[in-house]
Symmetry: C2
Subunit: 126 residues, 2 copies
DNA sequence: CTCCTCACTCACCTTTTGGTAAGCACCCCA
DNA sequence: TGGGGTGCTTACCAAAAGGTGAGTGAGGAG
């Protein structure tokens, strides 16, 4: 409800979308929530090796503000909080599909270049 | 030819793609070069209001390293340098299409929410 | 002669981002 | 009684990103 754009105004749609996914772990969080559906805080933490608790909460809060994730708190002891994607989060993930495929191509391209370098004797064999 | 991945290794394709477009102006640079085909340095500068020369050169160099843009220097006086998208740059732009549309939807969504707030008396009329 | 344009580069500074470590309040398990 | 798990928050730091303003060197306009 009461929500203002964090940054902006945006010059084009790419701007607005990148604003929402830029952040060291946001892409991975999106991926985790999309593949698992519902995840608890500690599950996400274990799924993103290397993330700090601070960054995870910070990113989750921002994504909640941006309407991408839903946060459900159960008033229990020990505390339980479940995160899932909203409709907008799922549509963002869908829109990210082609970009992900492009990224895979890029990774593959880099690997083949490395192999070519190795075969040309430019790099030592591992 | 001799090119190593700037960051990485990447966990998924989204990672690899976001690495390449994250940077305050890269999305806009891509857009500019895609719509105009070929642009000179100063043209790009004028097309991206607020960009500093340092950031523009820095971003262009990184995108060149990443194989997204082609840089053609004409040994003239005064100097002339033309930038254009490579094949990979164009394919990245294509992959960015759905994301751009999602961003446009987000912008539109935010605007309607603002209008609703205004109509509910939560915000002053401009 | 002076200023402007072109496409930068460099040194310096501020802002933003992310990491580290600690604490909290309660519970369960041994 | 001590330790671990739960989901955070806070204070403090380090690194990265980005901005500012100057200088370059030749040519063209006024």
């Amino acid at each position: 409800m009461a929500k203002a754009p964090r940054n902006g105004p945006y010059i084009c749609g790419i701007d607005a979308a990148l604003d929402v996914v830029s952040g060291k772990w946001k892409g991975l969080i999106l991926w985790e929530l999309d593949t698992h559906g519902v995840r608890r805080f500690a599950e996400l933490r274990r799924g993103l090796p290397g993330v700090s608790e601070k960054m995870l909460t910070q990113h989750l809060r921002e994504m909640e503000q941006d309407g991408l994730v839903h946060r459900e708190v159960y008033p229990e002891v020990p505390p339980r909080v479940e995160y899932s994607l909203t409709e907008h989060g799922r549509s963002l993930n869908a829109a990210l599909g082609p970009l992900g495929r492009w990224g895979m191509d890029r990774i593959a391209r880099e690997r083949t270049e490395l192999v070519e370098h190795r075969d040309a004797g430019l790099l030592p064999r591992p």
